[in-house]
Symmetry: C2
Subunit: 198 residues, 2 copies
């Protein structure tokens, strides 16, 4: 075996998080043995996502439409806005189905170490959304890391002047924990017990 | 988020061996965030493999050419033929780079329980290859399972009439072990110490 094409597929899979060379080989073997049942559907799904992939101009979510499905969902509550560091956090919170409002993706967190400053994050667009009115509560759903909490404090200062309630996720999050790695039960608890920013 | 296309991609990945819903979600997120660096290469690799996928008419290997790369490799030794149950076993042995000859994939093993009989396996084509001459040694590289060893014994009887040396992998394989799960060192040892069938 080891044709150029099969090697390329193995390498591409091996670079996915959670995959290594060995599991990639097993996956490739599964794919080539189940051409109709596994390879074709995966190829079709990848092509469809790639063709339609878009970053939402409103919230920064990655979806197959712009604006994204969350921003255009009429059942969602415009009055609650949940700010997250990353798209993965948005997805994690959205899966919990406990937050009925909209989201805003910063695209990272402030980091002196990595030289990430406020102007590197989607903060101006956040302030514009809040300034636009109609928002009652902003949930600062940063990771429970030092940098995440620094970012939350920075945002709290910038948002102080607006007539909105600032809340953050309950400190039930494990210290150093990243939202995206938490089970949905922990996330649900943290979201239910969210409290005003001190 | 959870657009139809992204859900479909998550499901397709979650069905790969070694993947579950959670790791599939992380992989999808990685793909949508690295459209050029991860999604496009994976899509291209899948398309290329799917377009060219073929089962070798000589040995039963799955490759992007028919005959496969092993059957057409002029550096390989026609005199040694290694018979394996499955394509995954061929790939595992081929990775060890210790077997210089050709392969033959049976497509399974005899199983009274599952009703798999000799005529369900690529045994006639194996006998034809050996009858064609030029083969000095046939390695019966079945799995070290009861069914694998039953299959090896059956093949040994069918091949008895040919002037070939029948060998099997050294019994260093863990009992019940499947070739494809072994590390390459164990495989290499078993292949180096292969011995005549008693
Ligand atoms: Zn959006
Ligand atoms: Zn072949």
């Amino acid at each position: 075996m080891a044709s150029q094409e099969i090697d390329a597929l193995t390498s591409a899979l091996a670079r996915l998080p959670g995959f290594g060379p060995r599991s990639a080989r097993r996956a490739v073997l599964h794919l080539v043995k189940k051409r109709e049942g596994a390879l074709a559907p995966l190829r079709a799904a990848l092509v469809a996502v790639e063709e339609r992939l878009a970053t939402c101009g409103i919230c920064g979510n990655v979806d197959t439409t712009d604006p994204c499905g969350i921003c255009t969902d009429p059942r969602r509550d415009d009055r609650a806005l949940c700010v997250v560091e990353d798209v993965s956090d948005l997805w994690a919170l959205d899966r919990s189905r406990l937050f009925p409002g909209r989201f805003h993706v910063l695209g990272g967190r402030l980091s002196a170490l990595e030289g990430i400053r406020p102007e590197d994050l989607a903060i101006d667009s956040l302030l514009a959304r809040v300034a636009g009115g109609g928002v009652d509560e902003v949930v600062l759903a940063m990771n429970a890391t030092l940098e995440g909490q620094t970012t939350a404090h920075y945002l709290a200062e910038r948002l102080e002047k607006f007539p909105v309630r600032l809340t953050q996720l309950a400190h039930g999050l494990p210290v150093g924990g990243e939202l995206d790695y938490l089970d949905e039960g922990t996330l649900a608890q943290a979201l239910r017990a969210r409290r005003p920013v001190a």
